[in-house]
Amino acid sequence: MEYESVIGLEIHVELDTESKMFCSCSTRFGEAPNTQTCPVCLGMPGSLPVPNKKAVEYVIRTGLAIFCDISLFSQFHRKNYFYPDMPKNYQISQYDIPLCIDGHVDLEMEDYATTIGVTRIHLEEDTGKLLHIGGAGRIAGADYSQVDFNRAGVPLMEIVSEPDIRTPEEAKTYAQKIRAILVSLGVSDCNMDQGSMRVDANISLRPVGREEFGVKAELKNLNSFRSLQRGLAYEIERQTKALQSGEAIVQETRHWDETKNTTSTLRTKEYAHDYRYFPDPDLVPMEFDPEWIEGLRAELPELPDERRERYMKDFGLPAHDANLLVETKATGDFFEAAVALYSGDAKIMSNWILGDLTYYLNAENVEIDAGEVKPAHLVEMVDLIDDGTISGKIAKEIISEMFKTGKMPKAIVEEKGMTQISGQDEIAKIVDDVIAQNPDAVQEFHDGKERAFGFLVGQAMRLTKGRGNPQLINKLLKEKL
C-alpha cells in the first residue's frame, strides 16, 4: 500500500527582547548560572508578572508577516504541570485566544509551489535550563540535575502549522522560510545552535487517498534543519515498515539521535495531558486598537517573498537563484552589498555566491556573515576576471585562499604570481607544444570529434598551471589546427 505522510511543525522562537517576558531581568545568553533571576521569574509567592510590550508587538508583527488574523482581544492562561525547569509549576501561555490565528506561508519547492497553513501563533515564557549530572549527561541515567533559571521567563513565541506538510523537504523549506521571515522582521536571531529556534514535528502516515489521519508520533531534539529533514525521513521509513507488517503505531514522543541516525521512544502518551488551563488572574486582558495594528502592518520591512520578486525583476535573476539568495537574510544582504559594488551582471555575482562561496561555507559550517570573505573580496576578484588579470579557474583558487586568510584578491594574486598569461607569443608557444605532444587528439579533432578540442584546451591550461587566458588559447588553438 502507498502511504502519504502528514506533518505539522511547532516552532518555538525566543524573541529578541532586552528583558524577559514578565519581569525586567536581562535575556542575555551565556551568562553565569542564576545571575539573571528575580522573584517573578523564580516564581516566588506574591510576585507580580507584567507583560513585555515589545514581545507582544513582535508576535503581532510576525502574525502580520504571515497573513494571520490578529486577535483584537487576547489573554494569558496558566498551563499547569510539574517539571523541574519551571519554578512556578505552571507556564504562562495562551490558550483559546492566541495573539494570531489563521495564517499561511507559501513555499517554492524545486519544481512545484505549495502553501502551508499556520493555525496559530501564541506568546509564552521559556523554561529554565537543566544540566544532567552523571549518566553521560543524558536525562535517562543521570544521578541528579542542576537548574539554571537565567532562561526561565524569556519571551517565547510558538508558531503552530496546520498538518499541511507532506515531505521532509517541505518541512525543512517551511522552517527555513519561517526563520528568514523572523530574521527579516528582527524579532529573533533564530539561532538553532543556541536554542533560540527549536522545531518539534508531528508526523503520521495514512494510505494515499484517505481523509482521516493516522496515529502520530512527535519528534523532539531536531536541532538543525538537517536533523529535521533526516529525522522525518527516518520516521516515515519506520512507520511505513510498521504499518506494512500490520503493527499498530503508538502515539508517543520520540527523540531524534543525530549520531545514531534513529529515533527512539521518549515517552508514550498513556493518558492525555491534563494542563487545566485557566486565565492567569495576575494578568489582565489585552485589547488592541486596530489602527495600532495597521501601523505595525505599514512598518513591516521587506520580507523574503518580496525580496525574491525584486531580485527576479530588478536583477533579472532566475527563480532558482532568487530563491536560494533569500533563504537567509544574511545571504541576501551579502548579495546586495556585492551587487552595489559591482558594475557587471548580477547573475555573475549570484553564481559565485551560490557556487564556490556557498561550497566553502557549507564545508566549514560557517555563516555567510561570519566568514572571512566579504562582498568587497568577491567583487574585487570578479573585477580581476573581467579585466583579464586572472582566469575563472584561478579565481576558484583565490576564493579558497580568501576563505582561509581573509586576504584581498589582488594581494593574493601578487603574492602567488597568479596573473593570467595573456601574451600572444607565450600562449602560441604553448599551443604549439600541445599540438605536437597530442597527435592522437589532433587527429580525432580533424575526424570531427568536438570533445578532442576540449581536451586540447585542457592540456594547454595544464601547461600554464591554470594561468593561461582561456579565450586566447581557444582562438590560437582553432587557428593552428
Binding site: P33, V50, P281
Partner: protein, 94 residues
C-alpha cells in the same frame, strides 16, 4: 454524587498529593458540595454573557522592554534545599 473517588485520586495525582483512603472519601464529599454550589450558575441563562477574563476591569497593563536589577545569585539560591555550581539541584527526573 458527581465526584467519584477516581476523580479525587486523579486530582490528587495532578497536585502530587498522597491521600489516604479516608481522605479520598472525605474530599470526594467536600468537592461534591463545592461543585454543587458552583453548579448554581448553570441555572442562569448566560447565553449573551461574555466569559469573564478577569475580575477587575483593567486591560493592557504592559511594561516597556527595559532591563532592571536582578537578584544576586546567592540571594536567588538562598532558599534552595540543595545547590551546586551556583545552580539549584533537583533529584533525578526520570
Amino acid at each position: 454524587m458527581a465526584i467519584s473517588e477516581k476523580d479525587v485520586k486523579h486530582v490528587a495525582w495532578l497536585a502530587r498529593l498522597a491521600l489516604s483512603d479516608t481522605e479520598v472519601e472525605r474530599f470526594a464529599k467536600q468537592l461534591d458540595v463545592i461543585l454543587e454550589h458552583a453548579g448554581k450558575i448553570a441555572e442562569l441563562d448566560t447565553k449573551d454573557v461574555q466569559p469573564t477574563a478577569h475580575a477587575i476591569p483593567l486591560k493592557n497593563v504592559l511594561r516597556e522592554d527595559k532591563v532592571g536589577r536582578c537578584l544576586a545569585p546567592e540571594v536567588a539560591l538562598a532558599n534552595a534545599p540543595h545547590q551546586e555550581d551556583q545552580a539549584f539541584v533537583v533529584p533525578r527526573i526520570v
